[in-house]
Amino acid sequence: MSLKECYVKLGGDYEEVLARLFSEDMVRRFLKKFLSDGTYRLLLEKLSSEDYPEAFRAAHTLKGVCENLGLSDLCKSSSMLTEALRAGERPENLDVLIAQVCTNYEQAVSAIQMLTGC
């Protein structure tokens, strides 16, 4: 699977990422890092313990990482979650938002795993 195909699969803008990060190597390196990044787990943890201010921060960080890696779909859903959590309280449609983030995350992870072969 090529990097470009990977980006199609996970719902991202390949051209834009390459323009910013310069080399495919760099993009690959950080996509691989994304797999071991703990932000997503932290977000789920904070949500299950109903610590919404911390969940906000984690969602915010996840959004930032996705922006940088050009993971557009996940970025969009985590961004919506972030804004919903900004007030520091449980938003009404939380479950829907979480489900969307989870779906996009799984998509991204499986695409990256296929790319890197791990």
């Binding site: 990060l21 310069f22 950080f30 994304f34 932000t39 921060r57 915010h60 930032g64 990482v65 940088n68």
Partner: protein, 840 residues
């Protein structure tokens, strides 16, 4: 830059490891990357790397302490002045960005990161900051250098005068202080914009030269005890004009403001407001203000100091005499200023009885003023006095296991050094310490009030305080001596800017309840610095090895060479990290490229009289200003030598030409040379030779029947004879030997390292050379000379006395030459031990 510089350090603060790594990779390996995952960590790293960080990339949203809080902290501690911050965030809401800019952020990079943008922004910001910082450093260095050089030059010139006057070196310093105090008071009183602090500094610096014209006054008049005759007085009065002329003759740009001011002061510091003064009889404000102020300062100090013609009057008497008009008429406003400062004046002079105080805060404040003058705006001022002092504080406090604290009014932060924070178990930085809950755990409110009272009662003139207080360390009460120094703002109306201090554990004084007798506390750095200028014999500085190490390090940042010398062993002493002094293999005179001890070893002199001395070394084309001060380190005596090189380039901030060096060197030469014969004069003997040890041999020579030559042929013939005889003597001795015209027709020769058997040969050679002297105009005249020579160890003056005795023996017996060799122990009790001496 030719030097390979270490990589610039960049701190990346972001809670996502992935983001940090990505930014790090984008910046590439041009930078050394430090990372922090939240604001608290960032502050920690900042504290440690404040001096070498080039830039911070700062995220906004972070756990524990967010980016804006980091900015607030950086503002309070003024780190924001010296380190640029670039915000990185996906928070694009304008209120965040605005707030960040308000708090001093330099730039903003939005997500998603673009490699090009990140690199460019970082490089640009670092470059512009580095340029400013560099520029600032250059300016600061140059200003402080120029200031230092000016002072050194003044110190040299005024030293030459005092040297001759027999006045204590304090006169110049006193004039300097009084002038400054008067001018500052005048500035407060008149509230006029005509005068700046810079003018005040310049006038008080130039005041050092007020009596330079006394060089031209014959010594007999200058140092005459008793009243001068009218004629003598007239000659004496010539010194003000002579001083002005000397200054005009200096090969310096005449428009140099310092020179202009010095000229006014020299020429007109004896004018009086009613026109009754000299030399020009100027009246009222026709007399420049600088000269009027120095005149008043001069009168006050002359009255309160002992002079060869009068005792010292008390402050009150002096004030009364001045206000009664006994010393002439002064500007009424200046008299008012004198009255205003009268109370503090006597104390101030006593406190400052230190020659050449390198008053660091004063200097820095001057630099700060200069920086403002250079038009660098408030936001760009990086090396302000504050950060300069913070750096110094950190430097000093990091090097020691002592408790230092520092309170800044502006940021309302009380900081402790690492060791102090650990001992008291509190944070290094306490915001609003008096409202903080932690502080009362260490000290109850009475004690805090007690210390605060001391701070409040400190004045700019007496900024130091000391108080013993009980403080809680780990819930146990320990006694500490709190030594504090209050720092003041530079504005017209002085306000507290902060307090700097140190806590010394003094349990041993209080716990065993021995109370009463106050044992001297170990000195703080401030008092160490002051201590080395101790004037009174008993006031010498006694410090521990570790303190000596700190002191040396501190002084080395200001002076070219700072070292401890053990003059008894002629060696330079190093102090290792544990504070133990060790004699190094390096001879102290090695620094001068000499193979033997200096002719004028001030370290030996100050070690024996436990005082402090200054000298100038003239090596090749350079002048070195050397100060030696007695210090005891762990109870052992040493000399602390501080050496500054004065080169032609540094004199007068580069305006000087090598003629100044020549001028001074020539003057130094003139001081020591007998005009008639070209040999050394009596002064040279008194000041340089008399107290020298181990010079091996001394001969006293006296011409036979010289008086009859003068009586019969007149003084011109006598002078010519003396000149020829001196030439004959000089031709017979080596270059390393000293020939001194001791007085009249008496000469003295000091031989260095001559073998004993050579001495008689030399002296006989001199005798026969003198016999062969023929004066072309008086061929009939014949000369002979009698010589007493002494060979042996010990002090020159002892050998000289012995030689003198032998000379008269030789004269009486018409023996021509008599020589003795003194045994090594016989000098101690020479009298009555003649038998031991080998007589030839």
């Amino acid at each position: 830059m030719l030097k390979v510089r270490p990589k610039l350090k960049v701190l990346i603060v972001d809670d996502s490891e992935l983001n940090r790594e990505m930014l790090g990779s984008m910046l590439g390996n041009e930078y050394e990357i430090l990372e922090a995952e939240n604001g608290a960590q960032a502050v920690e790293i900042l504290r440690e790397h404040i001096s070498d960080l080039s830039l911070i990339l700062l995220d906004v949203q972070m756990p524990q302490m967010d980016g804006l809080e980091v900015l607030i902290h950086m503002n309070q501690s003024h780190w924001i002045d010296s380190i640029p911050v670039v915000m990185i965030s996906s928070e694009t809401a304008p209120k965040f960005i605005e707030r960040a800019y308000d708090l001093g952020a330099t730039d903003y990079i939005a997500r998603p990161y673009n490699t090009m943008i990140v690199r460019r922004r970082v490089a640009n910001v670092i470059l512009s900051f580095a340029k400013q910082r560099q520029l600032m450093e250059i300016i600061t260095q140059q200003i402080s250098k120029k200031e230092k050089d000016n002072r050194l030059m003044l110190s040299i010139l005024s030293h030459i005068v005092e040297f001759r006057n027999g006045e204590s070196g304090l006169h110049v310093l006193h004039i300097n202080i009084i002038t400054e105090l008067l001018l500052r008071q005048l500035m407060l009183k008149t509230d006029c914009n005509k005068m700046t602090y810079e003018d005040i500094t310049m006038i008080s610096m130039a005041s050092a030269l007020h009596d330079i014209g006394k060089i031209a006054i014959p010594e007999e008049i200058l140092n005459k005890p008793g009243r001068l005759t009218a004629e003598e007085f007239q000659i004496m009065q010539g010194h003000s004009m002579a001083g002005a002329e000397i200054l005009m003759d200096l090969p310096i740009d005449r428009n140099e403001p310092l020179l202009k001011t010095a000229y006014e002061i020299c020429r007109w510091h004896h004018e009086r407001y009613d026109g009754s003064g000299y030399p020009d009889g100027l009246k009222g404000d026709a007399i420049p203000l600088s000269a009027q102020v120095v005149a008043l300062a001069d009168v006050y100090d002359a009255l309160t100091s002992e002079r060869c013609y009068k005792p010292a009057y008390s402050h009150d008497t002096a004030m009364k005499m001045i206000f009664d008009g006994q010393c002439g008429v002064f500007h009424p406003l200046l008299l008012e200023c004198l009255r205003d400062i009268g109370d503090t004046l006597a104390q101030e002079l006593l406190a400052q009885n230190t020659l050449e105080t390198e008053n660091a805060p004063k200097e820095t404040s001057h630099i700060t003023e200069q920086l403002q003058r250079y038009g660098l705006g408030a936001t760009e001022r990086l090396l302000q006095q504050r950060s300069y002092e913070q750096q110094r504080f950190r430097f000093l406090s990091d090097k020691t296991e002592e408790i230092f604290f520092n309170y800044s009014v502006e940021s309302s932060i009380l900081s402790f050094n690492k060791y102090g924070a650990e001992r008291f178990n509190i944070e290094s930085d306490l915001f609003h310490p008096l409202e903080n809950e932690k502080l009362p755990k260490c000290a109850d409110s009475n004690i805090l009030d007690h210390i605060l009272e001391k701070v409040r009662t400190a004045t700019p003139l007496q900024p130091d305080f000391q108080v013993d207080v009980p403080l809680a360390v780990n819930q146990e009460i320990h006694w500490f001596r709190c030594l504090g120094h209050v720092i003041w703002t530079n504005e017209n109306r002085k306000r507290h800017a902060g307090v700097l201090g140190k806590l010394i554990n003094i349990d041993e004084k209080y716990i065993p309840a021995t109370n009463s007798s106050v044992a001297a506390a170990k000195p703080s750095i401030e008092s160490l610095i002051n201590g080395i200028h101790a004037k009174k014999e008993t006031d010498y500085c006694s410090i521990s090895g570790i303190e000596a190490r700190i002191l040396l390090q501190y002084l080395k940042t200001v002076f070219d060479v700072v070292r401890l010398v053990d003059a008894s062993q002629n060696c330079q002493v190093d102090i290792n990290e544990s504070g133990a002094p060790q004699c190094s293999d390096f001879h102290c005179y090695g620094i001068w490229n000499k193979d033997e001890r200096c002719e004028n070893c001030i370290s030996a002199k100050c070690m024996s009289n436990k005082g402090s001395l200054t000298k100038f070394e003239f090596i090749d084309q350079n002048i070195y200003h050397v100060r030696a001060t007695y210090v005891e380190v762990d109870g052992y005596p040493y000399s602390l030598e501080i050496i500054d090189q004065i080169t032609e380039k540094t004199l007068l901030g580069g305006h000087g030409k090598d003629e100044i060096i020549k001028y001074i060197t020539a003057y130094n030469h003139k001081l020591y040379v007998d005009i008639l014969t070209g040999t050394y004069n009596r002064r040279y003997y008194e000041e340089q030779l008399r107290d020298m040890y181990h010079i091996s041999a001394v001969a006293m020579l006296d011409m036979d029947h010289f008086k009859s030559i003068n009586d019969t042929y007149g003084h011109p013939a006598g002078d010519r004879a003396l000149r020829q005889v001196a030439v004959a003597i000089k031709n017979c001795v080596r270059k390393a030997d000293y020939v001194v015209r001791f007085g009249g027709d008496e000469f003295l020769i000091v031989f260095r390292e001559i073998p004993f058997h050579m001495l008689p040969k030399k002296l006989e050679a001199i005798r026969s050379c003198v016999k062969n002297v023929i004066l072309p105009d008086y061929p009939q005249l014949q000369f002979s000379i009698s010589i007493g020579g002494v060979y042996g160890p010990g002090k020159t003056s002892d050998l000289m006395n012995a030689a003198d005795t032998l000379l008269y023996q030789a004269k009486r017996e018409k023996a021509g030459v008599r020589i003795e060799c003194l045994a090594s122990d016989s000098l101690m009790n020479r009298k009555g031990n003649e038998n031991e001496n080998e007589t030839i």
